[in-house]
């Protein structure tokens, strides 16, 4: 059985796909904790237990590996957010979404921030292809938040004149900034405050 590598189009055997997935998962963990800049290919080889030749068989260099990590992390984060936001249609539901994100980050004392946001902070200047992929992923996340706000509007909980796309983008910005402040402070409080304040503003735009 074979699969196809999404970046180079090369067909992979089941064993090859497993090795590639192992490298990407190991690299994603390291980059989440140490940052992209602080992670070398030698670190990835050591952490994932593969040989140098195996790594270079799948990835031409660090840029290619970083792009694969972005795909991997993006798939996880957007899948999680789709599950969490896909059926939310009340402010209370949005607050439960906020609680889950904050609680999840509190388990790590806020130390590592948003895995997708951390990649965005580090790679957008260096690799245009990576930047475009990240831009698309954040666009999907914004779309999920906009979907919730549209449902709030449809139910009459939000004014028909509320600028949905702009509010969804603003909420995503507050969330990402909250993650970044939490990461620096090693405390989730600023993240919780930032999302709460943004949701309070959205709630204040009630049509009733």
């Amino acid at each position: 059985m074979t699969t196809t590598d999404s970046h180079n189009g090369r067909r992979l055997t089941a064993r090859g796909a497993k090795t590639r997935a192992k490298i990407v998962a190991g690299a994603a963990d390291l980059m989440f904790i140490q940052g992209v800049g602080g992670t070398t290919l030698d670190d990835v080889i050591a952490a994932s237990g593969v040989s140098k030749s195996q790594l270079y068989h799948h990835f031409a260099g660090k840029d290619a590996l970083v792009r694969a990590v972005i795909d991997h992390v993006g798939e996880f984060v957007i899948g999680r957010e789709r599950d969490a936001l896909g059926h939310v249609s009340t402010i209370a539901g949005l607050r439960r979404w906020r609680d889950a994100l904050v609680q999840n980050n509190a388990l790590r004392h806020g130390a590592y921030g948003c895995s997708l946001g951390a990649l965005a902070s580090e790679v957008s200047d260096n690799d245009d292809l990576a930047r475009q992929t990240l831009s698309q992923l954040f666009g999907e996340w914004q779309g999920l938040l906009a979907g919730v706000l549209h449902r709030l509007q449809d139910s009459g909980a939000l004014s028909p004149e509320a600028p949905i796309d702009q509010l969804a983008t603003g909420l995503l910005g507050a969330l990402q900034g909250g993650y970044m402040l939490a990461q620096t402070a090693r405390d989730v409080t600023p993240m919780a405050t930032s999302i709460d304040m943004a949701l309070t503003h959205i709630e204040s735009l009630s049509a009733h």
């Binding site: 940052g35 602080g38 946001g117 951390a118 965005a120 902070s121 580090e122 957008s124 200047d125 930047r131 990240l134 831009s135 954040f138 004014s159 028909p160 004149e161 509320a162 702009q166 509010l167 983008t169 603003g170 909420l171 995503l172 910005g173 507050a174 969330l175 990402q176 900034g177 909250g178 993650y179 970044m180 402040l181 620096t184 402070a185 600023p190 993240m191 405050t193 930032s194 709460d196 304040m197 943004a198 309070t200 503003h201 709630e203 204040s204 735009l205 009630s206 049509a207 009733h208």
Partner: protein, 149 residues
């Protein structure tokens, strides 16, 4: 303290002290959006991830304090706006100075990351619109004050 941290605080101190109404806040916001959309600006460098966590914590704490002092002045002077459109009953809640300052700083941080990704200031402006919602601080307000429109 790193040069770009010190430079941002040296600029932000007098700028934020000078903000006493919604129009001045709008001008501050316009200037800072320009800074955050300029590659290698000290503002961009100061918000990038670095290893010097303790300096970064001090920098962000000091900037948040300066923003909180500005928000407090605006609240004391009664600079808040009414409902954003006639049919909306925007609930006029008391502005929490410290929490508003956290949201403004988060909006600058997260909004600039999104804007740098799409190479467009709109996400940053959307984040700041939300954070500065209690005050009349739109870009248009700044242009009107400066007599450019």
């Amino acid at each position: 303290m790193r040069t770009h941290f010190a430079e941002v605080l040296a600029r932000e101190g007098p700028c934020l002290v000078g903000v006493t109404d919604g129009a001045m806040l709008a001008c501050w916001r316009r200037r800072i959006v320009d800074e955050l959309m300029t590659p290698r600006s000290p503002y961009v460098l100061a918000l990038q991830p670095t290893d010097d966590v303790s300096e970064r914590v001090d920098f962000l704490d000091r900037w948040r304090e300066l923003i909180a002092e500005m928000v407090d002045r605006l609240v004391q002077s009664g600079t808040t706006i009414d409902a954003p459109w006639p049919s909306a009953e925007a609930t006029r809640v008391a502005v929490d100075v410290q929490k508003t300052a956290v949201l403004i700083l988060a909006a600058l941080h997260g909004g600039s990351t999104l804007s740098q990704l799409v190479q467009d200031p709109r996400p940053l402006n959307a984040a700041l619109d939300l954070a500065l919602a209690p005050f009349a601080a739109t870009e248009d307000n700044c242009r009107a004050r400066m007599g450019t429109e």
